[in-house]
Symmetry: C2
Subunit: 450 residues, 2 copies
């Protein structure tokens, strides 16, 4: 649907919180530049909110409570959605797409859960659906994945995509403090929400992992497919253990393409999408990403390693990503044509976590007598898990001279890659050994050069 020459591109804004307010500001302040870039004026046609009296700072004549009427109005070409959550965003965007309106959304939850319906509606009417702001805020990431790397083959994405958890983990690493204490500080400083569950339990990162995996592997991955572990179980010991091994702990969203021999000379492919805290080497480019920053590390066959770094949240950064998408959709309207469609042609199977190859770091407190390592190693061997590194040390705080008393020692094991299920049962079995006094820390290890 091409507007008449010279006609303005009409924009309907759904929601007017922090991000929406910034979008209004940028649309107004940069009207001239936007017109030059789009090839036609870009005009705000209406702003749908629930309580108009709460928005004294935006043009009052544009405010409406009738969102469903607004999204299909004749003077609306593009709908920008910054409400968040599933409903009413879902119904509004479906109605807009079915009526051929372009859509720009920052709604990661909706896309990760029910993206397929939106893409189908966009495909059917030929409308554009853009969503750069849904993952890693202002960082231009989805466009490179969808377009720049379109001739390459992505093997893996490892991302720090949640600023709150990265802030907490950076602070724990710097101060040596525990999780609960650091979370409280982060809340006081405004880095964590009053109810931090969406962040610290990994829901937010899991939505983003679903979106990234779908784009990278041309396969439909929903948030339900993403294995998810948060950071609430982490303690100061885990973080200190990582540091001792030249590693640091990050909450990672990992999207991986797994290729394996199919037994008859060919290769079967599958994908894994997962979120959990893991140790990465200090030399890894993601290790230096601290505070509330986000960064996404992409490995592709031809391009090699790439990293995208920036602010993952906040009104202005998110609004910048929304405006970039808005320019693209508006320009497509003016010039004809449309952006890339959903691409799910590969339809690769998604692995469960148990079937996913990972590697573990296990730190044990064991009694210090001969044969303990042999016993532990035997359990790993029985589960087909091969050991990469072992470090054994007597506890410095116990006395060498008390010969008759069973002494303690610490045993740190890093495994080679094995199925996550095998690793988990190995640790369960090891924990039950008489000689093992405590499993001090178990954490996955990522980003090693193998």
């Amino acid at each position: 649907m091409k507007p008449a020459p010279g006609r303005a591109i009409g924009v309907a804004l759904l929601g007017c919180g922090t991000v929406g307010g910034e979008v209004v500001r940028l649309l107004t302040q940069q009207a001239g530049e936007l017109e030059a870039r789009v090839g036609a004026p870009v005009r705000l046609a209406g702003i749908a909110v629930r309580r108009p009296h709460r928005h004294p700072d935006v043009p009052q004549d544009l405010l409406t409570t009738e969102a469903s009427e607004l999204v299909t109005r004749d003077d609306v070409d593009v709908v920008v959605e910054v409400i968040g959550g599933i409903e009413p965003a879902r119904s509004l965007l479906l109605a807009a797409l079915r009526a051929g309106r372009g859509v720009v959304t920052a709604n990661k939850e909706l896309l990760a859960e029910q993206g397929a319906d939106l893409f189908a509606a966009a495909d059917a009417s030929g409308a554009d659906l853009y969503f750069e702001a849904a993952v890693a805020g202002a960082i231009p990431l989805l466009r490179p994945l969808r377009e720049s790397l379109a001739g390459d083959r992505i093997s893996r994405i490892t991302g720090i995509v949640n600023g709150t958890t990265n802030y907490i983990l950076s602070a724990m690493d710097a101060s040596g403090a525990g999780y609960a204490e650091t979370l409280q500080e982060a809340s006081q400083l405004g880095y964590a929400e009053a109810d931090p569950s969406a962040d610290v339990d990994g829901y937010d990162a899991a939505s983003k992992a679903a979106i990234l995996a779908s784009l990278a592997f041309h396969t439909r991955v929903t948030s339900a497919d993403v294995h998810r572990e948060g950071i609430a179980e982490l303690n100061a010991t885990d973080v200190a253990a990582a540091r001792q091994l030249g590693r640091t702990v990050k909450l990672l969203a990992i999207c991986e393409r797994i290729s394996e021999p199919d037994g008859s000379g060919g290769v079967t492919e599958s994908v894994s999408a997962r979120v959990y805290p893991a140790m990465i080497p200090l030399s890894h480019p993601l290790a230096g990403v601290s505070g509330a920053y986000n960064a996404v590390y992409v490995e592709a066959d031809a391009a090699g390693a790439l990293m995208f770094y920036g602010q993952g949240a906040g009104g202005a950064p998110t609004a910048s990503a929304v405006l970039g998408d808005l320019v693209a959709v508006a320009r497509n309207r003016v010039a004809g044509g449309h952006g890339p469609r959903e691409s799910a042609y590969a339809e690769l199977p998604v692995r469960t976590m148990g079937e996913t190859p990972t590697s573990y770091h296990v730190s044990l407190d064991v009694t210090d007598r001969p044969g303990v390592l042999a016993q532990v190693a035997q359990v790993f061997a029985e589960h087909g898990v091969s050991i990469s590194v072992v470090r054994q040390a007597e506890h410095a705080d116990e006395d060498d001279m008390a010969i008759r008393r069973p002494r303690g020692a610490s045993l740190v094991i890093v495994t080679h890659i094995a199925s996550d299920a095998a690793l988990r049962s190995t640790v369960d079995k090891v924990a039950g050994l008489d000689a093992v006094r405590e499993v001090v820390s178990v954490m996955r290890v990522e980003g090693e050069v193998s």
Copy 2:
């Protein structure tokens, strides 16, 4: 010009060196995926080379020496140019664009010198002109600048865009060795060309700076507009001095938007594009970019700070960027529509280096007697240059007890921002003072949080 439904998109490849060979390999190996992404088969229609017998590894029936005939052939939709240099690339691409063929090129030199002609030809015929591979190899950078940040306002780009010089500077920093010695090692390891001038004298980085500044500021900037200094004058002392100050030396390509009061209540804007070695703080995200890697740090009003990191050169990474562009151009052909056009609407004036605000680090060897600092500070004040940091230390290797002999001291000065011309004449004047025994090192300072 839209091909008939179902018809293959024909690709003419100009040049078949390292990058071209990789393009052929990817086009063949990923034919199925490319077809799915483009919506039509992508078929190599011909490969223009000068000496066909030197290319035994590509399909022989596609080889031709008649490049000018190939680029406008009926079965060619897109021309991919990886020859490099000005001619014959320029004439061939102009002919292709005039005939409505889409163009993908990795030719930074041509774009930076004569991009305007190419853009004009593309505009006139409605053909696409894409060039992601021309800057920072595989790193998706131009597309984000042209599209993702299209609704934002870029204030500054600071880039490590030449892998050879970054490799040399990283090695000097790690080993403490001098420039000549390190360059020789880099050549032996294949990180520097036999004639390293294009890299070490900053020509390569200057072409990239011109392209980046043009895109970021919607202003035509050519390589002739870019102030250029290379790394050949650097010595181990400069690198060590940076390290002592918690900084590191990088060859930077800097593109900056400068806003100043115009004296009547408004603001005048201009741009600066320049390449030189400079000190940046170790805490800056660019400081950790070592070896042959490239990274580009972008500051935008709404998005804040972003960084793009990856491999800046090499056959496969560059081919990945070429393929991404090829998919975009091919998809535009299939779907109708076209990519973003040259955007030079802002037409901001480009500053000379002398008029550009910068800040200097100056390290002096002075005689250690009272009043030297006052004398030096007086010269700075006379030139209107304000001093930010002064560090004064007696030389440890000279003897405190030799009271009558004039002792030496080192005086390190970091200035506030002033015009480069004022800074330069200040240093010249200071160098002439009796009390100054030697100007040990003068380097610009970038990336400070002010």
